[in-house]
Structure formats: structure tokens, C-alpha cells
Amino acid sequence: MTQIWSLIRKDWMIEWRLKYALSGLLLYLITLVFVIVISFQQISGPVWNVLYWILFLFVGMNAVLKSYQQESGQRKYYFQQLIDPVTLLISKTLYNIVLLFLAALLIYLLLSVFIESPVQHYALFLGTVAAVSVSFGICLTFISIVANQAAESATLAVIIGFPVLLPVLITGVRMSAFTIGMSMGGEIEGDFTILFAIDLLLLGLSLWLFPFLWKD
């Protein structure tokens, strides 16, 4: 537990000291929001919903896919001596989940500065964002690890990441459609259950598979 905590702290310290990563993310986000606001002028509820998740997808991928890169090379051998792979994976996943959640909130705040947000049920919306962040965090962390095995990892991560994320993204779009007052048929509880089941499945698998990818 202390190991996990100190790993997360280490990740944050590196991120904070190398300001370019965070500020790059922020700049990317602001640019995207600007482009959207300027080119759309008026955004209806359903369009807002889809745009929000597309923004989240791109920003999330940008934020997370590089996360494992620093763990390659020399530092990897150092970690292999020191810690259990499961500990490393859990700390990475937790860190990425929190990062994604904060990014999602930031996107929402930025969007609502410029455009009136159509969200009606704030608690549900927050829950949706949190649930999707968890799924994205688990998925993207594993994908970035897999992609890092190859030479062209950045391109590869995007190629193999998109299709895997799609079911989660579609569920997310459905769920937030509820929160802006559009009915998609069915109950939102069912979607939460599905996301939770997908999370459990993927988390279990990545915990089981990571040790195989970890050793060289």
C-alpha cells in the first residue's frame, strides 16, 4: 500500500516538475475547446454530448498513452528489482484514473465557460464521468503497456486503443445522454452495471497479464 502510494507520488512529482506535459495537455484542451466553440457557434444538447466525449477521448489518450514510456529503458530494470509488477500496475492505473477524471472535469468546466451546459442531473453526470474515467484508466493503462513493447509505440497505442475503448465510449455517451434529459430507452442503472462488469473483467485480465509483459 505504501509502495502504491509512493509510486503515485513519484508519478505526480515527475509530471509536476516536467511542466511541459501538464501544460501541453492544458494547451491542447483549450485549443480544442476554442476550435469547437468558434466553428459550431450554437451547440444543441445531443451535439454537446457527443463533442464532450470526443474531447474526452482525445485528451484522455494524450494524457495516458505516454504514461508507461518513462518506465522503459534503464528505470524499468531498476523497478524490476524493487517492486512487484501488480503494485506497479495498480499505482499506474489509479494515477491514470484520477488524471482522467480531473481532465474530464476540466473539459466540462472549460466547455461550460463558453457554452451553456445542457446537463440537468449533475450528480448523475458526475457519476457517469467517474465511471467512464475508471474504465478508460484501466483500458488505456493496459494498452499503453502493450504498445510500449513495440518500437512505434505512440502510433500503435492509438491503433489498438480506439477499438478497445469504443464499447466504453458508447456506453458513456448513452449514460450522459440521460443526464442531459434525452431518453435513450432502458435504465441508466443497467449501463452502470455494464460498465462495472467491463471494468472488473478488464482489471482482472490486466492484473493477470501484466506480469507476462513485465519480464523480459
Binding site: 502493450v146 513495440a150 512505434e152 500503435l156 477499438p163 455494464i194 509483459l213
Partner: protein, 351 residues
């Protein structure tokens, strides 16, 4: 000499599927009844077009309109124009109490050929004016015989294309089995570290994707004939395309890693992960969204009325047949991959 009986079995089953699936005729059906809207009252005339029907062969036809099990009405008189066409005159009694302002009635003709011809929601009935001498009778008064000979069910819109069930649907099932086998080989590779298992996983994934493409193609042909468009971004179509993308990414991943051992390990891990995401993709998400496919959006599911016992006789063997054929092709692919691997490693040692 290893026993290769299952290969012959697979081929025999597929031949049986082709022969039986293509040659067994459709049962009699009703293409259209006109007019499709009417008011209750005496002397309502309908013209009926049949498919695979033999109206003129029978002395007495029962032409029945049915609201529900307790409310049926027999035609007062009918006139057979040809084997495929007849006119019937009904004295429609007033709608039963508690009925909505308009009710859909099913048109049933028995005997119509090799069984009973049925057209669900054939006529929408509204309360009309004028007294009628007709009266509702329960369905139990008629002895509808549903299966008198070997035939596939007639379904409007689907018609003869119902035979595609043995190809499109069966191929999709076979793909899941083959991809499942690929995942099992990946697990075995991770457990043992023997490269053969990884080559097998790769071979099975390749064949699985080939079968998946065939399944999508047959589905698109079917959709072009029944839904009007080959690709209509139906949720299951979209998800199937995404599933193909996931496995294409698997091949891209494999080809981008040089080291044999590392490629095998990473590929195996991704393969297991990919198969796990395939399950929500193909079986959970489509159930949430409206779809043109059977089983969602109010359409009947497989195993409902669309798959009767005669079709089961072909459908289940077809799944086994396609799976066996896929396994055979996958074995050949595996041997090819293994020869490639051996040749490459020999070249390396010679240099």
C-alpha cells in the same frame, strides 16, 4: 497416421447444409392482403396473394381473420382465382369490448399448400357502421395444422433469403468458436512458453477474421435484400466492424515487434484482452440499443418463431460444419506459419 475423420465429417455436414438448406421448399405464405385497412361490417372483400400456395387444389379452404385466441371470424364466401390468388368476403362483427379503436388482425388460410399460410397484422380493423350477421368464434373451432411436410417457415420480407441463416448466422457462431480457440492457445502459450502455441493462436485468429469477413459479407448481402441497404450503421454492424478492427490491430501489433519471443508474449496478452472486450462489444452493447437485427428493438430473437424445428435440423449442423472447416484451415495455416518460422531461423543460423 492420425485420425482425420472430423475433416470428412465437416465437409459432409457442409454438403448436407448446402443441399438441405437450398432444396427444402418454403412453406405456404401470404404476401399481401388488400385492402390493409377496413371497417367492421358486412360484406368486406379482400384480395389475397399467396406464396408457394395451392389454393385451387383444395375443395374447402378456411379463410380466417383472427384478432386473438377467442376472436376469429370465418369468411362468408371466397373465390379462388388461381393457386396464388383468391378473393374472400367477410362479415366482420363489431370489435369486442375493451378493444382499442383499431385492432390488427392476422389472416390465416388453411389448407393453403403444405400447411397453413399466415400473415400477421394483415388488416387493421376499425369500428364501422352497419350491422353484421357474423360472430366471433374461438380459434379452437378450427384445426390449423401447422406442419404437414418438410418446409422452412415463410416470413414476409425474408422470404427465400431465410436460408441465409445457415450461412450468415452459422458463420458468425463459428467465428466466435475459432477466435475462442485462438484465445485458449494464447493462454496455453503464456503458461508454457512454447512457441508452437503462439503460432497456433495466430493461425486461429487469422482464420477467425476470415470467417468474420465472410459472415459480414453474407450479412451485407442479406441486408441489401431485406433492409434495403447493405450497410445501415445498425449497432450490430458497427460493433462487428469494430471487432474486426480489434483483431486487425492484433496483426499490426504482431508485425511491429521484431523479437520473436516478445512478439509472442505481447500478442498473446493482447489477444486475450481483445477476446474479453469482444464479449461486451458483440453481446452486451447491442442489446441496449435499437437494432434492425432480430433480438433487439422489439424484433423476435433467434429461437423464436424465426427458427422452427426444420430449420434447427440444418442450422445446428451448419455451425458445427463451419467450425470444423475453420479448424482445418487453421491447422493448415499453422503448418504454413511453422514452416516459415523454421525457414527463417535456419537462414539466420546459416548466415
Amino acid at each position: 497416421m492420425r485420425l482425420e475423420w472430423w475433416k470428412y465429417l465437416g465437409i459432409a455436414i457442409l454438403l448436407y447444409t448446402l443441399l438441405f438448406g437450398m432444396l427444402v421448399p418454403l412453406g405456404p405464405g401470404i404476401v399481401e392482403a388488400s385492402p390493409s385497412q377496413t371497417n367492421t361490417g358486412p360484406g368486406r372483400e379482400f384480395e389475397v396473394w399467396g406464396y408457394n400456395t395451392r389454393f385451387s387444389q383444395f375443395e374447402k379452404l378456411n379463410v380466417v381473420l383472427k384478432l386473438d385466441d377467442n376472436h376469429c371470424v370465418l369468411a362468408r364466401e371466397y373465390q379462388v382465382i388461381s393457386d396464388y390468388r383468391l378473393k374472400a368476403i367477410f362479415d366482420l362483427p363489431a370489435l369486442p369490448e375493451g378493444a382499442r379503436s383499431s385492432e390488427f388482425a392476422t389472416l390465416i388460410i388453411y389448407p393453403a399448400g403444405t400447411g397453413t399460410a399466415i400473415l400477421p397484422s394483415a388488416v387493421s380493423m376499425k369500428e364501422g357502421y352497419g350491422d353484421s350477421s357474423g360472430a366471433w368464434v374461438p380459434e379452437s373451432q378450427f384445426a390449423f395444422d401447422r406442419n404437414t411436410s418438410l418446409h422452412f417457415p415463410y416470413r414476409n420480407i425474408l422470404m427465400e433469403s431465410i436460408r441465409n441463416t445457415y450461412f450468415h448466422v452459422a458463420l458468425w457462431f463459428a467465428m466466435m468458436f475459432i477466435l475462442g480457440a485462438s484465445m485458449v492457445y494464447s493462454i496455453r502459450y503464456l503458461r508454457s512458453g512454447l512457441l508452437d502455441w503462439d503460432l497456433k493462436a495466430n493461425a486461429y485468429a487469422q482464420v477467425g477474421i476470415l470467417i468474420g469477413c465472410l459472415g459480414i459479407t453474407t450479412g451485407m448481402i442479406w441486408a441489401a435484400n431485406t433492409w434495403g441497404k447493405a450497410w445501415s450503421w445498425d449497432i450490430k454492424q458497427t460493433m462487428a466492424a469494430v471487432a474486426m478492427l480489434i483483431y486487425l490491430a492484433y496483426f499490426v501489433l504482431r508485425s511491429s515487434i521484431e523479437d520473436q519471443e516478445k512478439r509472442a508474449r505481447t500478442g498473446a496478452a493482447y489477444n486475450i484482452f481483445a477476446f474479453a472486450t469482444l464479449i461486451p462489444l458483440l453481446y452486451v452493447v447491442p442489446r441496449l440499443v435499437d437494432s434492425l437485427h432480430p433480438g433487439s428493438g422489439g424484433n423476435p430473437a433467434m429461437g423464436g418463431e424465426d427458427l422452427d424445428n426444420t430449420m434447427r435440423l440444418v442450422f445446428y449442423p451448419a455451425i458445427i460444419g463451419w467450425t470444423l472447416l475453420g479448424t482445418w484451415v487453421a491447422q493448415l495455416t499453422f503448418r504454413y506459419l511453422k514452416i516459415l518460422y523454421l525457414m527463417r531461423s535456419r537462414n539466420l543460423t546459416e548466415q
